[in-house]
Symmetry: C2
Subunit: 170 residues, 2 copies
DNA sequence: AAAAATATGTCAGTACTATTGACATATTTT
DNA sequence: AAAATATGTCAATAGTACTGACATATTTTT
């Protein structure tokens, strides 16, 4: 149990800094920024007995109503087994509804209900406000620099998925 | 089991957009950007049987060597029980070392070992490169706009924690 | 028409990260 | 000596993810 010592041995005592990792400060900032960003909705989700996975599913379904289960799985980057429970709960709670495909009756098209629509708005509002406030505080009202940066951070294949959403959404 | 329907009922068929949530596009971008950002180290961590929690712990210990367990808990925003297993594994694997406090012998000061130092560099390099590339692609070499934005996203109390790290790190 | 492929769903088992609550030990402060 | 603090551990629970196996309905291919 005594994995502990009185004297430094092998130890590295100097902090890693910009000399080691040029973007270390931004790495750190991104960690904290994302935590703040997800913290707002987390508090709301607790009221419904939901977690972040529910939020993400509802978000993308609301962003692209009528998407199939397979499309949602691709965007979320999880397995159907992982999505299964989350989706079942969102359907049972009346936030998402499945509609059998007209042309292909194997498919299930996903739509937010009115309740689901209201919930995603409630979850998104504090996030939107936080982003808008941050942009404003830095004099970046048009958000072009930040949007470009975030887009450039994303892998090519994920950017394709995003384009598909943007196309459907306008 | 038939939570599914042939006809739309209560359903909201129009996608949420900028009219509903002004920053909806940036919310979406941030989700994908962060996923890409964490994806790089995730692949490396698997080799060691570690997860993201190990990465975060090692990151902050390396960023501020000599920090106590209590300080690490505060920064990570988790309970000591959650940290316990992760820290024990990092100590057993020889990536972090504990040194009993000289003035207060109850405290355990945490340091990365040489192995820990090398691992955090390996984990941080792809993240740093990704950020640097994204900044460069958007002509934001000095990263001022992006850094300001991320800092402004963070809650006041977390920003204090960050300042403490920055002060120690220079 | 039969066979293969596809879309979805479910069950079982496992892993990682987190929680709360209770309790233990060593050390410092009062 | 008593109280507070820093750390650590055990047990139980929850949320999110995974793999593998199997089932059903439907569509496509042969």
């Amino acid at each position: 149990m005594k994995a502990d010592a009185e004297s430094p041995g092998d130890v590295v005592a100097s902090p890693i800094g910009t000399a080691d990792i040029p973007q270390i400060a931004n790495i750190e900032l991104l960690f904290f920024a994302y935590r703040a960003f997800t913290g707002d909705p987390d508090r709301i989700l607790t009221r419904f007995g939901f977690g972040r996975a529910h939020h993400r599913a509802l978000f993308f379904v609301s962003r692209r109503p009528g998407m199939t289960v397979a499309e949602l799985i691709t965007i979320l980057g999880i397995t159907k087994q992982s999505l299964s429970r989350v989706l079942r709960q969102l359907i049972q709670s009346g936030h998402i509804r499945q509609i059998t495909g007209r042309s292909d009756r194997r498919q299930r098209h996903l739509y937010p209900t009115k309740a689901g629509h209201e919930l995603i708005l409630e979850l998104s509002q504090p996030q939107s406000r936080r982003i808008a406030d941050a942009l404003h505080a830095c004099g970046l009202a048009d958000s072009e620099a930040v949007s470009c940066f975030m887009q450039a951070m994303i892998d090519a294949d994920d950017r394709k998925l995003l384009d598909a959403i943007a196309t459907a959404t306008g």
